[in-house]
């Protein structure tokens, strides 16, 4: 293990710096300055970033009545998405998506499935993840980024 060869570094995208800003719009302009949704103003922890969001048929039916970001979020939720995926795909700050998703949920346009809080303490969930991960095949190492 005491190899003389130095560990080759790098091989990773710069993930803390040098990124483009995702949106030229100041993030919370879209939420009229609010940092919490309509449901729970300032109370309790924010909904988890992996929370799944799905458009309702009612939401999809009235898609065109919404302004751009709201419309984009509903349209992107034709299939279940996590809040994190929504934020990344629509280039919005995570907390902006939290606020808008909660508003749209209150209006019946989205279903927001907050995961149950104790999944990490659930042995059956852990076993399912372990068993599922074990089926992931090996790969030949290849660099995705230089």
């Amino acid at each position: 293990m005491t190899g003389e060869a130095p560990v080759e570094g790098g091989g990773e995208l710069p993930d803390e710096s040098g990124r483009e800003r995702p949106s030229p719009i100041r993030p919370f302009l879209l939420t009229a300055g609010r940092v919490a949704g309509t449901a729970a103003p300032g109370s309790g922890p924010p909904i988890p970033i992996e929370t799944q969001v799905v458009a309702t048929s009612g939401g999809l039916a009235v898609l065109d009545s919404f302004a751009s970001e709201h419309r984009d979020i509903i349209a992107a939720c034709r299939r279940p998405q996590s809040l994190a995926e929504l934020a990344a795909k629509l280039r919005l700050h995570l907390n902006v998506v939290r606020v808008i998703a909660d508003d749209l949920r209150a209006q019946g346009r989205l279903r927001v499935y907050v995961p149950r809080a104790n999944a990490a303490q659930d042995a059956s969930v852990l076993r399912r993840v372990i068993d599922g991960l074990r089926t992931v095949p090996d790969s030949r190492g290849f660099l995705r980024e230089g």
């Binding site: 560990v7 091989g11 710069p14 993930d15 994190a84 990490a120 852990l126 074990r134 660099l143 995705r144």
Partner: protein, 209 residues
């Protein structure tokens, strides 16, 4: 990559069909440029996505007079990917933004995580202290993984364990962030640790699932 949903699905059927999976997550931590994104990319079924999130940084030990750490909310870029375990269960991997000179609070990202992985570059051990401290203080199951691209690292695992001062129950392992199998096995180390803990806790309280 998945195809878009078929456009033929009627709206009323769609509500029935689109039952989302239970999402669970693990956190990939470590200093800047240590291989977090590579790790996520190696095993994720999608190209890693980047989103902006808020974290709270705590300026540590700067102002000794007040003893009040100054907390600042910072927007950082965060990379993540996912693995569909089955149609009802999806594992997300979140790469925490590195914050080397600050304490930080990732609670917003980490809350409810199954476990964490601290990736270490043995040439820059300092970069991972904050992550090790964080997981230890939050009592989140985690492992320390030395990223060795050529299968070698500069130090023995025991030396690294000693240098990082991690508890005996924390696994310290070597892996290759570019190898899917290596990433998979390293995540399994964390998950098995998490499962052991839950089972031990259940044995104590007599809970059965």
């Amino acid at each position: 990559m998945k195809a878009d949903p078929p456009g033929t699905v009627a709206a009323h059927e769609q509500d029935m069909l689109q039952q989302p999976p239970l999402p669970v997550k693990m956190v990939i931590a470590g200093g800047f440029g240590v291989g977090k994104t590579t790790t996520v990319a190696s095993i994720s079924e999608i190209e890693p996505l980047t989103t902006e999130a808020s974290i709270t940084t705590v300026a540590a030990g700067v102002d000794d007079l007040s003893h009040t750490p100054e907390k600042t909310t910072t927007t950082v870029a965060m990379d993540f990917g996912c693995i569909t375990i089955d149609p009802t269960l999806k594992l997300y991997l979140f790469g925490t933004p590195g914050q080397e000179r600050f304490g930080f609070m990732w609670d917003d990202i980490v809350e409810g995580a199954l476990g964490g992985l601290v990736i270490v570059d043995t040439r820059r051990l300092d970069d991972c202290y904050a992550a090790v401290d964080y997981f230890e203080n939050r009592d989140i199951p985690f492992a320390v993984a030395l990223n060795a691209f050529d299968g070698k690292v500069d130090y023995e695992l025991d030396q690294v364990r000693w240098a990082l001062d991690v508890s005996d129950h924390v696994p310290v392992t070597v892996f290759d962030a570019r190898e899917r199998g290596s990433v998979r096995d390293t995540l399994l180390v964390v998950l098995e640790l998490a499962l052991e803990r839950v089972e031990r806790a259940q044995a104590r309280t007599g809970t059965r699932y």
